[in-house]
């Protein structure tokens, strides 16, 4: 547990020791602004809520989050530091979780720095701040899910570009699972159970209800289990692949 914290700190410091964290945060904030104000019609809607802001997050994360996740393990393998890290008296679980949490914290920091939009909406109107808080939490959990997939993909290869592409592809799959794009593609005779099951696995299904302000324990549980499962897969992949 102590080692988990040490690895977490090292990783987070690593993000801020290089321009990576700053570039990520700045681009994240700019794209968020463009999406919210230009595409989302924040003002035109005339409603004091952050629906246009959060609504674009699944798509924004699709490219931003894999960019952080791609280096998680691929770089350790490429530079050989994985051998250093895993021969220290550290549990593999501590390393996997510590690195994941550091990346998750970075997305959390980026998300927190979007606070001006919260101030704006409170200045302009009288939004339901409970809904906004729930949405922030939900959005952060969803970012965690993207990261967990990224962690596993990054463990699969020593090439971070490949890790990026794999992560984007798989995340895209999970995003569209809950969206009409995929659900409409099922033939009519498909049993409703299957369609529902696929929809239930998608990010959008769970994020939509959260972003509407319903912080259902089942949605939080979904993302938590999802993250845990992909991190477990990461650990297994690392164990198998570290030999080559």
């Amino acid at each position: 547990m102590q080692n988990l914290g040490i690895i977490f700190r090292r990783e987070l410091m690593g993000y801020f020791a290089t321009p990576l964290a700053y570039v990520f945060i700045v681009i994240f904030l700019i794209t968020n602004g463009i999406f919210t104000f230009e595409l989302g019609g924040f003002y035109a809607r005339g409603q004091a809520d952050l629906m246009p802001f959060f609504g674009f997050h699944p798509w924004l994360y699709l490219f931003m989050v894999p960019a952080i996740a791609m280096a998680l393990w691929a770089d350790e393998r490429k530079t050989g530091t994985i051998e250093l890290l895993l021969t220290l008296p550290v549990k593999l679980a501590d390393a996997v979780i510590g690195k994941f949490l550091a990346a998750w914290a970075l997305t959390g920091i980026a998300l927190l720095l979007t606070f001006p939009i919260w101030i704006t909406v409170n200045y302009l109107g009288d939004p339901d701040n409970g809904v906004i808080l729930a949405s922030y939490i939900g959005s952060w959990f969803m970012a965690g899910a993207y990261l967990a997939i990224g962690s596993c993909m990054s463990a699969c290869t020593r090439n971070s570009v490949i890790a990026f592409i794999l992560t984007v592809s798989i995340c895209f799959l999970f995003v569209i699972m809950g969206s009409p794009i995929l659900l409409n593609a099922f033939p009519d005779w498909t049993p409703q159970v299957i369609v529902d099951a696929v929809a239930a696995l998608g990010f959008l299904t769970h994020f939509d209800s959260i972003s509407k302000g319903v912080l259902d324990i089942r949605d939080v549980l979904y993302f938590s289990v999802f993250i845990a499962a992909w991190l477990l897969a990461s650990a297994i992949v690392i164990e198998i692949k570290k030999a080559n």
Binding site: N3, I6, I7, R10, M13, G14, A17, T18, T79, G80, T81, E83, L84, L86, T87, L88, P89, V90, K91, K242, A243, N244
Partner: protein, 312 residues
Amino acid sequence: MIEIRNLTRKFDQVVAVDDLSFEVREGEVLGFLGPNGAGKSTTMKVITGFLAPSAGSVTIDGFDIGGQPLEAKALIGYLPEGAPCYGDMTTVEFLRFIARIRGFRGEEADRRIAGVMRDVALKTVAHQTIETLSKGFKRRVGLAQAILHDPKVLILDEPTDGLDPNQKNQVRELIRNLARDKIVVVSTHILEEVTAVCTRAIIIDEGRIVADGTPAELEARSRYHHAVEVRLAGELDLAQELADVAEVAGVEQDRLDEASFTILSAGKPIFARISELAQQRQWPVEEFHVRRGQLEDVFRTVTEEANRREAA
């Protein structure tokens, strides 16, 4: 004590380490030799718990590396091949990270970091990021992290690779100083290094031990052990002269210098006997000295023998 029992490690179908067994005791500095791809690094990766063995076991002071990895790893300091370090950190930050993981806090951590930085001469680059350092400094940062917790077992994979002669000497000096109450395993392909720092050498080839002994014992296995080198000033058929001397195993003419000959010993020192003969028979000798067995000869002989067996 490191105990390695019937260790085998396979990669898919390739056997990198093949039923290897040996022990290393306190105070021993073991040189681990072998041609490239002989399985040196793989063996070290298994000993340090990075790779799991396909069969067999490794115990460090009674802790099985597979069964109690954390206890075993706590006893080991390891410099992996190429000395990988986190390039985005400064030397001090990196060593602090290692110190924390090794369980040192506060003053104790500071004292140890300062100590290793002094030992491997890193003070000048303390606040430089590791990726900007030269190869020699990077290697020393790697060494520093390996010895920071004063480990009982030190495993160094090619510690002097890529260093200049002065740095090589410093590292060897360091290893000699560290070695007193420790177990040190050094892999290298620089044979002079083995003679310089090791108390024992193991030569492995294709994952198997082909020679094991003190550097002196191994040198004795050289065909040039106790050989006498003679440079003649005039014509003389040495082979003819020595044909009836039982202690002599043969005479070899130097390929480059036709006046130089090496008189091979049949096992015992022959210098006195040869010098006596030379005086008695008035050989036109210009130069006359004993050749030491070279580890290099032994290395070549045992690894080539193994290859021949393989081919047969």
